[in-house]
Amino acid sequence: MEELTNVVDWSRAQFALTAIYHWLFVPLTLGLGIIIAVMETIYYRTKSEKWLATTKFWMTIFGVNFAIGVATGIILEFEFGTNWSNYSWFVGDIFGAPLAVEGILAFFMESTFIAVMFFGWKKVSPKFHLASTWLTAIGASLSALWILVANAWMQYPTGCEFNPATMRNEMTSFAAVALSPMAVSKFFHTVLSAWTLGGAFVCGVCGWMLLKKRNYDHCQRSLKVGAWVGLIGIVLTSATGDSSAVAVAKYQPMKLAAMEGLYKGDHEQSIVAFGILNPSKQAFDGQDPYLFNVSIPYGLSFLATHDYKAFVPGIEDIINGVSYDNEGNKINTISYSERMERGRRLQEMMAQYDQANRSCNKVATDSLKAAINADFKNFGYAYLDKPEEAIPNVPLTFYTFHFMVTVGGYLMLFMLLALFFVYRPNVLNKAKWARWWHILAIITVPLTYLCSASGWIVAEVGRQPWTIQDLMPNKVAISDLSAGYVQTTFWIFAVVFTALLIADIGIICKQISKKSQTDLETVND
């Protein structure tokens, strides 16, 4: 058992490491993709060589970032097989399809048109080139779509049924998988947050150039596109963040409770705006979960259900199976210990099914299959040792959620200020106080990256211990490997990806400083 825990932990650590690295590069690809497409459109319309130079500068950075995104991405796809082999069989019938569609429809689009974008300036017509740049950006967003559909399905498994003859879940509706509310909100929140990050990146680089009093014109052009994409991005990110929260409240109430550090819920539940958690707090110990907090009345009820009166259950309520409607009547939900019981009964039924199947008793197999599917949403609970095992890491989920939302609010103000500067070039260029905005813009870049990573931590840590919500805890999802093997590959990944990241940063910094040395449009003091 000790060994098993280790393999599970190392496999999780490896997946987290590779996913976090991958996500360092993907949002910039998504955001910058749109930004360069808009820039090239302006060039195409104006035929201005200056716009061409600006477009090409950002394209070079896009290319460097894209390559490392591709390098870190291949591993994630294959890791489902190498490290989560049980998972791959148990739900491969559903989960594999979006991955295949991603390859066939999105990756080829991206990789073909990116080649035209980089090498085709003199080989294809300007119109075809512009179309290729747009198709590269669209291809990147499409690949995000399919992988997010796959991720959303793990958070909210739908459109499938369990087949005890093959011991796996099988798809019954592709539309239900591809268009689940979780998939829709995840896609828009993620892609639009990447626009925000792309915008913030452009602002940050321009901030640095302007601080050096260089590349004034180039920055003016870049900011015009970057700040608009960033502002549209952050407005829509906030709106879709709201619909994400509604989806989480509905399908993953335990995650929502962890995001808020809420142990005992209530009607007209307030939301914590700022707070410090009590580190010794455990479920059912009666302690106050917060050392300090500032709350907004009705906030959580409203965020989670768009109804300020609604009851929002806390961690203890969920484990005890307690919930109420708006009239205060108890709604019939089941406790986690009951779900564990039912999960174990399901396992017994599956063993009986196996027997009946061997003796070709069709009547028995049919009725057992129906009974299994009727209660299948409790299957994963059979593997839990105690109900508390189903509580995710509350502090990590709580702090990352609050960090994301706070930075989201800040980014809204930041982007508005950026736009103000775009339309007041003299202030941006000459006013002493604009210097502070330049510095702020530089700091905003790492802040936005952290914000984006926090979003994923909320989404993924908040659903622990489930690989597939309610159906498969991660200790059952793994491959038959020794911990030492996974530990070895973990460290290889850590070293290789870090080395590549250093090179990536080195090249991007060099490109920026080269631009600022060669561009003659320096600021006139």
């Binding site: 058992m1 290319g63 894209f66 390559a67 591709v70 291949i74 591993i75 294959f78 489902f80 097989g81 989560w84 082999s85 049980n86 998972y87 791959s88 069989w89 148990f90 491969g92 019938d93 989960f95 594999g96 991955l99 295949a100 569609v101 991603e102 390859g103 066939i104 429809l105 080829f108 990789s111 073909t112 048109f113 080649a115 035209v116 980089f118 090498f119 080989k123 294809v124 075809f128 093959t166 011991m167 099988e170 592709f174 396992q347 599956m350 063993a351 059979a382 593997y383 059952v476 491959s479 038959d480 490997l481 093997y485 590959t489 080395a499 090179a503 080195g506 991007i508 060099k510 080269k514």
Partner: protein, 379 residues
């Protein structure tokens, strides 16, 4: 044959097309392995930039091959990938280091210098084809694994696929698999020479590639004949309608004879490959050898996938428990999923068409040093 069986066969056909295209596109890796033969920076640059415009096509085909395997035969995905862990991890690492190398090698600020990235390309150029060949060879010669689906009900030890303790290293040490891998490596180098001769307009490169072609093609032909002889004399696992599996001597030879059309296609493929090589070697100004050789390669690999999967053959025999062997019937996705995926596959010709159109436009003019001097996106 039921609709479900037809769908399983259809998806095996798609996998074989993707697999065959992947082997053909490994010419990029073959080209990378040739960097050791060139020291002059301008010639290296020509080679690297010529491959650098195609590497993503190979890479994307590999990723799509993986995704499509996951969607259509998930038990292979979970058994082989999770089982032959080291084999697959080494393959993946070699592709990870490839993906950044082109873009980074000549960019200022790349920290480690361009030689470092060229070495990474070289490693991928050798490790990629050899180990992918080894992985495919396990489909013919078997692997040490068992599959027990009901394990999932065992709370303490729930993994359904169990593999031998060396987790893929045993396949790298098996001479038959290694023979297959080295054969694929020399095929990749042969195709690379034909591709360079076609794509690069430079006398010196052209001359040296003709010399390399002679050596590599000879090695390839010898290794190919040896590999085919080993495959045709090897036993395979067959199964009956109720799914009962057993070892059958000369299974792959039998399959070629039963599926005579596959044999014809195999021979046609071999002739085309030889034609492409021979004509290029004999006619100094002939540059189109990559086309017959490429199409021939695709045809040969297609038939290899067919004899390993069709005609009631297990495409991954288990050396530990023959009943655990993976077949098109016991390892595929459900009928519903295969149907959905088949609808998606209707779009494949459209994808192939735009890829072909773009590259037709881009490769119209051959690559020269002049072009490299005047481009702002040079590797």
């Amino acid at each position: 044959m039921t609709t479900y069986n037809l769908l399983q066969n259809y998806w095996w056909l798609i996998m074989s097309v993707l697999g065959a295209l992947l082997v053909f596109l490994l010419m990029v890796q073959g080209g990378q392995s040739m960097l050791i033969h060139y020291t002059k920076p301008d010639k290296r640059a020509l080679l690297i930039n010529s491959m650098g415009r195609k590497w993503e096509l190979t890479y994307t085909t590999l990723v799509t091959f993986g995704g499509a395997f996951f969607a259509s035969f998930p038990l292979f995905y979970s058994t082989s990938f999770g089982g032959a862990y080291w084999l697959w991890m080494l393959i993946l690492f070699s592709f990870v280091i490839q993906a950044i190398s082109y873009e980074y090698r000549s960019k200022p600020g790349n920290i480690y210098g361009s030689r470092f990235y060229d070495t990474l390309l070289l490693i991928n150029g050798i490790v990629g084809p050899v180990l992918l060949g080894v992985a495919v060879a396990t489909m013919f010669f078997g692997a040490e694994f068992t599959v027990t689906k009901s394990n999932i009900l065992n709370v303490q030890a729930a993994t359904i696929s169990q593999w031998g303790p060396r987790h893929g290293l045993e396949a790298i040490a098996c001479w038959k698999c290694l023979l297959f891998g080295v054969m694929v490596f020399f095929l990749a180098r042969t195709l690379a020479s034909l591709y360079f001769i076609n794509n690069i307009d430079d006398d010196e490169v052209n001359r040296s590639q003709h010399k390399l072609l002679l050596v590599n093609a000879t090695a390839f032909v010898v290794l190919f004949l040896a590999t085919v002889a080993v495959i045709l004399t090897s036993p395979g696992v067959g199964y009956d309608d109720s799914g009962n599996a057993q070892w059958v001597p000369l299974k792959y030879l039998n399959n070629y004879l039963t599926m005579w059309w596959a044999l014809i296609i195999l021979l046609l493929g071999v002739v085309m490959v030889l034609l492409g090589i021979g004509k290029t070697l004999l006619k100094a100004d002939y540059r189109g050898g990559i086309w017959p050789a490429g199409i021939g390669t695709v045809l040969v690999v297609l038939t290899l996938f067919w004899v390993v999967g069709y005609n009631n053959t297990a495409y991954l025999p288990s050396l530990l428990d023959v009943q655990s062997s993976l077949t098109l019937r016991n390892s595929s996705s459900s009928e519903f999923t295969l149907t959905v995926m088949s609808v998606v596959s209707i779009l494949v010709p459209f994808v192939v068409a735009y890829i072909a159109y773009c590259w037709y436009k881009m490769d119209h003019k051959k690559l020269t040093s002049d072009e490299l001097d005047n481009t702002d996106h040079k590797y």
